[in-house]
Point group: none
Chain length 188, copies 4
């Protein structure tokens, strides 16, 4: 029993160590040897913990999703919607580096699903988790709006690859835009 927990925990550690590498190069451009080297293990060991590269990637995406849920939970819900939007924006800016990488990996995962003709189950499932988390956070009853917001965060993140100094500016713009939109269309 305790052994199993250790294995599971070690797997999580390995996944965490992969994060930067996948964010930087993308699934298709990372070799298993590079992964093994980054993790400080042999390729044999890598294949001992993960059946193949695809599963490794999918588990990484799941791990990221779980972490993102935690990030979103940090927002204090005892505030007006505008305040919560600003708080979310603030958290994104504070975790800028992580958020950008997470978005890059997510987009990479979307392409991976279409390119490798992998079943979208995981993709759809994670997608709806984000949708729900944002919906709850901002008391939205239109799921499209919730998804929309997270999509915009991705959009902004991805385009930071080269000049990452504008991330904060753009998240701020997004924040203001959302506030203006909600003020005009939906009563808080």
């Amino acid at each position: 029993m305790p052994k199993i927990i250790d294995v599971q925990q070690y797997r999580q550690e390995l996944l965490s160590k992969c994060f930067d590498l996948f964010a930087e190069k993308g699934y298709a451009n990372v070799t298993t040897r590079q992964i093994a080297k980054e993790l400080g293990v042999s390729t044999g060991t890598l294949y001992h913990y993960f059946p193949n590269k695809q599963v490794l990637f999918e588990q990484l995406v799941e791990q990221i999703c779980r972490q993102d849920m935690e990030v979103i939970k940090q927002v204090d819900k005892n505030q007006t919607r505008s305040q919560r939007i600003e708080a979310l924006g603030q958290i994104l800016i504070e975790n800028q580096e992580y958020i950008i990488k997470q978005a890059v990996i997510w987009i990479d995962f979307c392409q991976y699903c279409s390119a490798y003709k992998v079943s979208d189950n995981l993709l759809l499932q994670i997608d709806s988790r984000y949708e729900q988390a944002i919906s709850e956070l901002l008391d939205l009853n239109n799921p499209q709006v919730a998804k929309f917001i997270w999509i915009l965060v991705d959009g902004i993140s991805i385009n930071q690859i080269d000049n990452s100094d504008s991330f904060a500016v753009q998240i701020e713009l997004l924040t203001q835009m959302l506030i203006a939109y909600f003020e005009k269309h939906i009563s808080a």
Copy 2:
């Protein structure tokens, strides 16, 4: 007398025929053999028109940018800003399929630049062309806002890979949000 062919024009035709394939699979997942097959030529012919896969991809990105400039130009400038925003949204929705693919390829190109350590010259140059085109269209003096808008369109587009029925809804949301933002913050 040799076969007379407008090489430059034929190159453009070939690039156009690649568009769907790259949008669907992504640069790293498309093989040159697949490209040749899609184009209905041999790999030898492919390499007769493009020195290598990278240049082929870069020229495709350039072609897309030129086409996008044409799409943006379609908006009638004799309207209020809100009207122009709506017109732009309308055009995006009308060209939904193309816009999504274009965005997917663009994001792929961003990753390609970072993964292959290709010089960013082309990336930055194209980036600023979009910025300028949007700035002119909406009379913006803050370039960050212009870039921001196009980034959001990319963000929305990318996430359509699997359920593309929400594109129109999300572009509509973006339109309304931009209008609300400009009404509140910037006089038309």
Copy 3:
């Protein structure tokens, strides 16, 4: 009739123009496109005058052999053997650049014959032409000695690829060595 002569002559011109290219790169490293470019014609034209790359190369080797026979003939035969050896050495030094290239191509041709499993007929035939020419020039009755001399010239030539200033020195050494040998072993 005159047409045929022209074609033949044009072929010789083309071959002459290939000489430097083959000497510099070697048969296997020269592409037909490079040859065509060097000749200022299209690949189609190249294949109009020569059935393929192999025949082109073989004809070049033949042409070189004919030219070498002319070089050797320049030696005035009304001299002692030692004088004739020195005269030959002098001619080699005067034509240093040509001699080196000719030797490089010849060695390349030897390798070509073994690598491509081409029949050695041409090789043997040319070999014996050199043997005879040297035998006649130096009044040798041992054909091995004649061949030996030409082989040494090749050996010296090939090793000039990088520091070609020692060619004259080494031909001079060869000359002295031959003279010493003949003085000791064979009466002039």
Copy 4:
């Protein structure tokens, strides 16, 4: 525990097994698949031990040079110069097959350096090692003479490709010629 293998030693074994193939066909005419087949391994394994075909070839040349130094060392130095020359000739004749192949590869390497525009460092370095070894063996103070001798051996070797029965005759001729030369020009 992993399979224990002395990588460096295995590399040397692999190189030794390549020797004949390269001698017979030449660098440009040997394919990596042929090499792998000759070595009895897969192409993947080949690339596990050598980063690419060029480096493989260069390491082969280095290995050959080291072996040649051993061959030259076999000559007993407690003899007159004439005797040492004869002893060297004898060793060359005894190792005829190896010497010819070694020479063919060396010449191939010279062409390889010029054709592939590889830096000549290795070539010059090896060149000087031969020069020194011969100089020491025959107590020569003129390095040109030392280089000259080895060049002649190469020249003779290369021309044996097709009728290798004359090698001994020609090495014998070279030996006599050198003795005659030294008797006349340089006191033993």
